[in-house]
Symmetry: D2
Subunit: 457 residues, 4 copies
């Protein structure tokens, strides 16, 4: 087969080189966007009189029919034709003859592939935003449902202070909200039309880029043709946002894994989302959570791949940039799968309320409340902190819980302690009193739930 670019070539392409340089095996996934972009381009060419109206119409009909063929699984992709752009163009020429040969007027593969990737990422980014929203809603329902569950909050994975399970869950909604905002910010930079930059310097033909942008729903138009074909920022930014997102999911996954250990026993994962062992009949493994945690490596790797690819590349288009697709595709697939499976699995989790509450009552997790109790009584916080530390040490040595101390024992440490101390050191009391903005008090958590319902709509 003759290559469309082979006018000046005397020798043939080596089969090995052909297999090495082809991208059709992975960029065929872009077919829908390639056709969408070509239709808009053809409409513009016709409208501007760059090609006859008749040819424009033929092209559009031809492309639509190719789209149907691909959708129906009837299209034969050829490695010899290198990429999705040339596969489709060749099919179009076959269908429409001379008309099809006019489609590539005022266009280059350089701006075409940038267009396709932007259209793809615009769709995917919107899809991911929507999946994030969905996951947020799922978590929000859980927070509402489990509004009375008390659990230990941890720092350094040591029980630190009691919190509401709802409060803990809302923390993830906050993280996801930042993820959404980041993807929305990225979308502003993704949603820019590069087409019309041609190879790198624009064209001598009277194209109307604003019209093409309008047809394709772009909010902006690239303003420098060299930049437009050299730029993969939008893809890197997307990958960075995805890396932060999956980092968040990896944290949640880690906690699901911890909480479903025998030792924690805070939750039971649904059978439908766990697997067994091929040798140990008793096992029930948190595979989904583990895989989400593991897939973090994949997304980080993809981000680093594209950053590495773009390092030190001179302007404008270089073939290295063909390597942008695999990490982008792999990331969209991975992130979407993780968001989807989590939203399905989370509501099925059974929380072991007694266990969680019990854990929150222990480990002196309301010691800070004693320190703040003393601070309210005008004891400098540092002293209050030290006094409380000594109380804890006394408890450990004597194997007592804080609420198990008599008032006399308390008073040995500070005369400022009175009987009202007992209404401060139960987990539930501690939580109720944490009414500072963003704190874990039920009243505050309720406010946050109300606010978040608006935010994540």
């Amino acid at each position: 087969m003759k290559k469309p670019w082979a006018g000046r070539f005397a020798g043939k392409t080596s089969k090995i080189a052909e297999a090495f340089t082809e991208s059709i095996s992975f960029d065929k996934r872009l077919w829908r966007y390639d056709i969408e972009g070509s239709i808009a381009h053809a409409m513009m060419l016709g409208r501007q009189g760059i090609i006859p109206h008749k040819d424009s119409a033929k092209i559009i009909t031809g492309l639509k029919s190719i789209a149907k063929g691909i959708e129906a699984g009837k299209f034969k992709f050829s490695e010899e034709l290198e990429d999705i752009h040339m596969n489709i163009e060749a099919a179009l020429v076959k269908k429409t003859g001379a008309a099809g040969k006019k489609l590539h007027t005022a266009r280059s593969r350089n701006d075409q592939v940038a267009l396709d990737l932007r259209l793809y990422l615009r769709d995917e980014t919107k899809g991911i935003i929507s999946l994030i929203k969905n996951l947020q809603k799922t978590i929000l329902s859980m927070a509402e449902k489990h509004s009375s569950v008390i659990m230990p909050g941890y720092t350094h994975l040591q029980r630190a202070q009691p919190v509401l399970l709802s409060h803990y869950l809302l923390a993830y909604i906050e993280m996801l909200q930042r993820d959404r905002n980041r993807f929305e910010d990225a979308l502003k930079r993704i949603n820019i039309l590069p087409l019309g930059s041609c190879a790198l310097s624009g064209t001598t033909l009277p194209i109307d880029r604003a019209y093409t942008a309008k047809l394709l729903g772009f909010e902006g138009i690239s303003e420098n043709s060299m930049d437009a074909v050299s730029d993969r920022d939008f893809a890197i930014e997307f990958l960075a946002d995805a890396a932060i997102l999956i980092m968040h999911l990896s944290r949640l996954a880690e906690e699901l894994i911890l909480w479903s250990t025998e030792e924690f026993s805070f939750i039971e994962l649904p059978d439908a989302f766990t697997t067994g062992s091929s040798i140990m009949p008793q096992k029930k493994n948190p595979d989904v959570a583990e895989l989400i945690r593991g897939k973090t490596g994949r997304v980080y790797g993809n981000l680093l791949s594209l950053l590495t690819i773009m390092k030190g590349l001179p302007l404008s288009y270089n073939r290295d940039m063909q390597e942008d697709k695999v990490p982008v595709f792999d990331t969209t697939d991975t992130v979407k799968a993780c968001l989807t499976v989590l939203a399905q699995m989370l509501p099925e989790i059974k929380f072991n309320k007694e266990k969680m509450h019990g854990a929150a009552e222990k480990a002196y997790s309301t010691a800070t409340d004693i320190a703040e109790y003393l601070a309210k009584k005008r004891i400098p916080f540092r002293e209050a902190h030290e006094v409380t530390g000594k109380i804890v040490l006394y408890c450990i040595k004597n194997k007592k819980e804080l609420k198990g101390l008599s008032i006399d024992e308390f008073k040995k440490f500070s005369s400022a302690i009175d009987k009202d101390i007992y209404s401060r050191i139960r987990a539930g009391d501690s939580i109720k009193a944490k009414t500072s903005r963003g704190g874990t008090a039920p009243s505050e958590v309720k406010k946050q739930i109300k606010r978040l319902k608006q935010v994540i709509k």
Copy 2:
């Protein structure tokens, strides 16, 4: 020295552990922000009656005097006191006694360090945005100054089409503009008050976070205390933005290195920004550009570091997060140094206009113009492309340039070619005709310069 947190501890800290866990050797750089935050916190505590006004005043005076001491280089930082927070608090207690011991009321190091890092990154991000703007202005002046210089535009590092040097320079302004926008978007998420989240669950004391936020100029307040002390998204986002920025600079650096080779000879770098060889007396090396390219590795590494650190961490604060500072500090230093040195060096570069223009005239770089010429004459672009390819092949075989072909030679390839072809195939003519939006035509470049003057103000 007694640790402020040592109430419950019986044993002493190992010296090796102390050296291993200390952060004062690097986080002392945060002193200004730590004090700024503590002053605001003390004002709030006083105003809310959580501590007496008198103590609040003493604390503020004390902190200001400590700030002066540090500024004057008189403050002694102690490794035993672990970090900047405890170093300053210990000094304050020394100065103010019981008053100082009240500063840490309704606060934890967990929210304090998050505050300090946010204040630091807010300043640094603004500083970087301003340095980007400065570099953009520098490049814009160059684009205006060299508005008539013609050079070859490259794809695959092969001469592709002639462009204006100005057009090429504007491509970098576009990239930098996206960098600015990304940093500005990041700033929205950096500029959030975490203080008042305390250890992880808020406080029982009647703090007023909105007041503290106002004092410190924050635009938002974190809404979930667990999230607030667990969150390092803002730092990762900053690092990702920095990675994209330095990737841009690495591309510019690559081209400066290429252009200053004997082979390209497009530019001469100023003596003041190059160095010589310890063995080869004739050398003049583009060290600054090479180092910028090399420092890309450093910033990428920093981004990966923090992503790795945060992977799979359970909520809320974990000591791993102390490792956030070195990559962040190293990145701000690196990025600022690169932006600064580039803005100094670029205007001193001498462009070898003849060489650049000469290169643009060769290598058949206006072949696309012939193809578009034919397309305008209704020859389907694919055919036009092939015809032109054959013309080029003919030129190569006969060692001719396009403009060296006679009209008869042209007509052998296509009867559609007329004498007006000669006004299309000189680099200058080609450029003039590329009037599509974002194209390299002088008229379009002028428009872009005008627009950018507004944008980067």
Copy 3:
């Protein structure tokens, strides 16, 4: 379909979870190794009397027949059966009934998958070593063929000193030799039998691991069952070695790209390994070299992925580790493709000897030779260096080459310079005199070629 591990499970696996956790879509590539391992395992089980000989024989026949089926493309892989291990086992049970159900005795998927991956990587590593050797031989032939070609050696991409093209080529053979050695070292750690570690703690059955190891050609046996199923060092080490290897290839690729620019024009790439442009008919792009450079990002990303996955994982097997396969497979494919295409392309490159030699004669590239000439005349090297620097500056100002200076001009800079200077400052003379070990003198290069012929056999 009933899961083989589902004895204790009441609920069914969710379809979404099944799709999320399956690995058959990518680990089916391990089928050959899975069967090879199972056959050895069955032989051992039979020999040890753990299962009846008859059953062992049935299993082996069954597995061989399955292998044939897969080879012939007739085997149906099922996502429901999760992975390659269970797909094959299920087929075996179908074929052999109760016998097949005995295969998994004294084995777990944990040690089985470790076995398969080691067998796979052993083969691939050997294959890569062989491809490296092949590439070394190719380059060595080129070095012999082009033994008289002189070119400029560069530092900082500035012409520094003349060297032989052969000498330059040998540098890459050295790099590749280190790559080989690293892969050979890795092989020592890959080629270890993990089977028999079972889930994590060994087995109560009287297995003979040494026999299995012998059957499978392993040189060592893992000595700790928990480590054996937790360990992916061998894969990370492989990925790190691959990262260094492709970094080397990226450097070669960079130089091929540079050298095939119009500006350098040192080489012409064969038509068979370049491609054209869809819009610019005159272009001939070094795509293969660019893609090799770009694929560096992919391999770096893969290394980082697996490092990230393994970070902080508690012993022993965790499902995260299933994510090891995609980066490993992608790396073996990538590295092998790059080595193969390079070995094909390199011998087809045409070197433009005149251009290379001409470049070496210019840019004062023998200035160091003057400095060493003076040093031999007992002028302290630093002074000699400075004197030469002044000569170069004089040449630049007066637009002369070194060999164009008269002896009087030379003597103005140092009376120590005599007429014999003229036999030192031509590129060829300079090269001939660099006879230090590892230097670029033809005599030394010849020695190295002879040595390398032995080394890379």
Copy 4:
């Protein structure tokens, strides 16, 4: 101050460029190696008659005196003199006049810096190997000391099968042994003399590289001068080995963190290696372990940095490579600190044997033993596995432990079960029976301890 390389330069170096390009602020750490290398070089120059013996002697005396000055903290490092090499040479010239100016004969900073870094990394690698050995010995003592402690082995962080604590500890010795082997392999490639490669092409002077190599204790000599100054493989390989090492440590750290939670309560960390909270008086945090886990990010980042730096660099030396030092230095510091602190902390850990053993008895962790029991009775393993799964399910539903089942209950699931089952399902019995090579049986663990004592000597 005049730059030693400034012969041909007319303009002065910009202060900003000077600050940007200097490396003395970090490479001064190499002073010892720089001087060691220079002394060997001077000896060789004298011996070969390249410089007079007298001068050689003067240089050596001068360098030794400079070394003393640096050691005593009296040496003034100057940023203007860029790097450690020029700082020391300038001081030498000051001390010895013309003699000092002869030191740089037949040498370039390109081979000098490669030499220094190799000498540095040789020392550091040996130091790290020795620290690994030390940590192995520490763990081995622990394994011997706690030889009777039973704990649950985990897969998927679910209790899987009982193992000996000793067995678990030996797993880490295996990992560390591979680390040692990898560093030893790296040492073969580090311990190569690059000096004598000069700028990139060797020298015309009659140097004796073998003699220099002997003086400096190198085991090999680089065989290609261009490769020698371009090569940073040895540093990347070191970083990759360090990344795998710290990954191992991060896994141990993770488990220390888990085990010191209230929930696990398997261990108590020594007060001397934990810290408290500034707000929560009861906290005792596993900071050392958390920081080790966190520092993994730093080492991964360093590896990626250097890989990124070297990607696509043309031969030979480029200034980018100056950026190799910070990641290398940071990694040696980090890894050594982690190994040291761990070796100190581990022996101080108190194991809660009852808790560990108790956990091992629960969660049906000997279910596999039942399956293997049945397999021995010729029930196909897959059926045995399923039967056991049903037994477990029955236990869960009826809230029983395996050993709490009556023989009749057992027999309901399989008639093959006899009373001897009770001697298989206690954790201790299970462990004792796992006598396969590398298994957890005390007899096997004892063998391994004996073997390891030889191995890690």
